[in-house]
Amino acid sequence: MADKEKAAAYWSANLRLILGSLVIWALCSFGFGILLRPMLSGIAVGGADLGFWFAQQGSILIFLALIFFYAWRMNKLDKEFGLEE
């Protein structure tokens, strides 16, 4: 594979990964935590509901998981494409 094609493939893999991650990012915070909270109101979590849990705890935990997953996956991609430092 030519260098240019390889670089393009790496970049589009990165964009796909970012897009996927940001969909989850938005779904958990803006979705479950804010806009979709009424839909989740039936699921009780200790005195409140699932939407409230996402707004005050869950979304932060998801953010953490997303960043570490992204870092792990990208650092692996760097090596697969021979683009690591």
Binding site: A7, Y10, W11, N14, I18, S21, L22, W25, S29, F30, G33, I34, L35, R37, P38, S41, V45, G46, G47, A48, D49, G51, F52, W53, A55, Q56, Q57, S59, I60, L61, F63, L64, L66, I67, F68, Y70, A71, M74, N75, D78, G82, L83, E84, E85
Partner: protein, 587 residues
């Protein structure tokens, strides 16, 4: 030992530690001064970033803000979610670019002096407004815990910052921030663990929040909902009706966070692109420890306060003023808690004076809310409310000051590097020597500290509002231009400059319209009430809209004008791939 001596010992010991670090970590080159030599371990940088990011507001005021109820969850999601954007959209590529400041990237990527100048202006407005809040925060902590006037306190604090920031630059700041993180997180979590154990029996405040209230046997949040309802307040967990505003406010805080220059430059200090990615994760780990604890402190602190005022429940007679606990007396002296016996019954009635509740209040013989409590109390008085020993209070004092100073130092570095590197080295005198640039950096740092101290002693009346401006501008100008600079090769200098100006102006004008032109009281065009807001969008939430305007203008203008030259497109290519990043380019 009196509480004053304990507080003095804790704060004094923390200051000795910071000065010791300053002497050990002196900067010898501009690279050390601007980016700590570029060799900071990702975990170390994560911890420093956490202290850099968590300001006096996060430490002292946030729990109080969240205690209003669900609607202010925006602060929790907004101030953490921005790190996801940083990790994926900005930090790794800017690290690969490998220079020293945020305007550096904007100036080079758009090959435009105008773009660099606009970026410098945005940076200076954001960082200066932000630093005022930190200095006032430090002054307040001094005044409350050390019984010195806040002026004396501020001057002492400035001297400490002067020593490690001017001597050590980013290098000194990095390692003091690590120490400050440890101080502030210990100070925040210990009282939180105790209050969680007392209220719910849970060791972890994060699970205690959703645990069972030990005294009543029902879930803690349900109990809180019940008692606040009986006092005429909205349910703690109640949903909000203006979802659009909550959405935009959260979004503004997220992209504002990702666009804050003093946070971004922290990622220039790690050795490699891969480290910048890990480091963003570690930063959020250290931040999340405080941010997942804060909602527990908020809800349990509020429930605890109400229980203290109404020992037999909100419908039974309230606490007699003469029998109030010691901590309430202590904090009355500071003015953070104020009592006025409006119905002359010698008891403390605290409730919501809303019209809907007026009838109930009258029936109970209440003549108005008698206890005004500043929200900062939830954190500051937490150890006393929970009956913790004196050393925990000393710890809170040191923690509050650490939170303020660590953020102030990061901001001061962003300001001084923008002046010495972007204005002096890159625009006014490109031939300046390495030594000359270092001296310029140190002088601008010293001047910035002097100005910040002066502003802290004489805070402009609008100090609280300008933080909104800082986030709004970061969201509407810096974040979009950086993101477009990396993810689009087509955006040219005209698009970038006009986009930044459009975002900056629309956001500033919208804020000024409701909060007063240049924050001069009484000059606002419209009253700052929800009925006047455009589509119900509050001035604090407008940053996200400003960002959309920035993106739209930049794309529109760029596609109507010429493509950026090949070497700029090559530069964009090069920041996208980690290979060949190496050291920060000396120039």
């Amino acid at each position: 030992m009196s509480q004053f001596v304990i507080n003095l010992l804790f704060v004094g010991a923390s200051f000795m530690l910071y000065i010791g670090i300053a002497i050990w970590a002196r900067a010898g080159s501009t690279k050390e001064f601007y980016v700590a030599g570029g060799g900071v371990h990702p975990v170390t940088n994560g911890m420093a970033t956490a202290a850099d990011w968590m300001s006096a507001a996060s430490f002292i005021s946030m729990a109080g803000l969240i205690s209003v109820g669900y609607v202010n969850s925006s602060f929790l999601m907004g101030w953490t979610g921005g790190f996801v954007l940083l990790a994926m959209l900005l930090a790794p590529y800017l690290r690969k670019f490998g220079k020293f400041t945020v305007p550096d990237f904007v100036g080079d990527r758009f090959n435009s002096k105008a773009a660099r100048v606009v970026a410098v202006i945005c940076l200076l407005v954001i960082s200066t407004t932000y630093v005022i809040g930190q200095m006032t925060g430090a002054g307040v902590a001094f005044a409350r815990f050390l019984e010195v006037s806040s002026t004396t306190g501020l001057i002492i604090a400035s001297c400490i910052v002067f020593v490690y920031a001017v001597l050590g630059g980013m290098k000194g700041i990095t390692y003091t921030q690590v120490a400050q993180y440890v101080v502030l997180i210990v100070a925040y979590t210990i009282p939180a663990i105790f209050i969680s154990l007392q209220m719910t029996g849970h060791l972890l405040p994060q699970t205690g929040l959703f645990g069972t209230h030990t005294e009543s046997g029902i879930p803690m949040l349900q109990k809180l909902d019940e008692v606040v309802r009986e006092l005429g307040f909205q349910d703690y967990t109640a949903d909000v009706s203006n979802k659009l505003n909550m959405f935009l406010f959260t979004m503004s805080l997220m992209i504002g966070t990702a666009g804050l220059p003093h946070v971004i430059i922290r990622f220039f200090t790690v050795p490699k692109v891969a480290d910048a990615r890990w480091s963003a994760g570690w930063a959020l780990v250290f931040i999340a420890i405080l941010y997942t604890t804060a909602p527990a402190v908020a809800s349990m602190g509020r429930l605890n306060l109400i229980n203290t005022i109404y020992p037999d429940g909100p419908s039974a007679p309230a606490l007699e003023y003469a029998e109030r606990p010691q901590w309430l007396q202590t904090w009355e002296d500071t003015g953070l808690v104020r009592f006025e016996d409006k119905n002359n019954d010698g008891r403390i009635q605290m409730y919501n004076e809303a019209p809907a509740f007026a009838e109930t209040a009258e029936a109970r013989g209440w003549a108005g809310n008698e206890l005004v409590v500043n929200n900062d109390i939830l954190v500051l008085a937490n150890p006393e409310i929970a009956n913790l020993p004196g050393w925990v209070i000393g710890l809170i004092a040191a923690g509050g000051i650490a939170a303020a100073l660590s953020t102030a130092a990061g901001l001061l570095l962003a300001i001084s590097s923008a002046i010495s590197h972007d204005l002096i080295k890159n625009m006014i005198n490109p031939k300046i020597s390495e030594k000359g640039e270092m001296l310029a950096a140190r002088i601008s740092m010293a001047v910035a500290i002097a100005i910040a101290t002066w502003l802290g002693i004489n805070p402009p009346g609008f100090a609280a509002q300008v933080v909104a401006l800082a986030f709004g501008i970061a969201a509407a100008s810096i974040f979009p231009v950086l993101m477009m600079g990396i993810f689009s090769k087509r955006i040219n200098s005209k698009g970038a400059v006009l986009g930044m100006l459009a975002g900056l102006l629309s956001t500033t004008i919208y804020i000024f319209m409701y909060l007063g032109w240049f924050f001069i009281p009484g000059t606002n065009t419209l009253a700052n009430v929800p009925d006047n807001w455009l589509f119900g969008i509050s001035p604090l939430s407008f940053g996200a809209v400003g960002a959309v305007i920035n993106f739209a203008v930049a794309f529109g203008v760029s596609y109507l004008t010429e493509e950026p030259p090949q070497e700029i497109q090559d530069l964009v290519e090069s920041v996208r791939y980690p290979k060949g990043a190496g050291d920060a380019v000396a120039h």
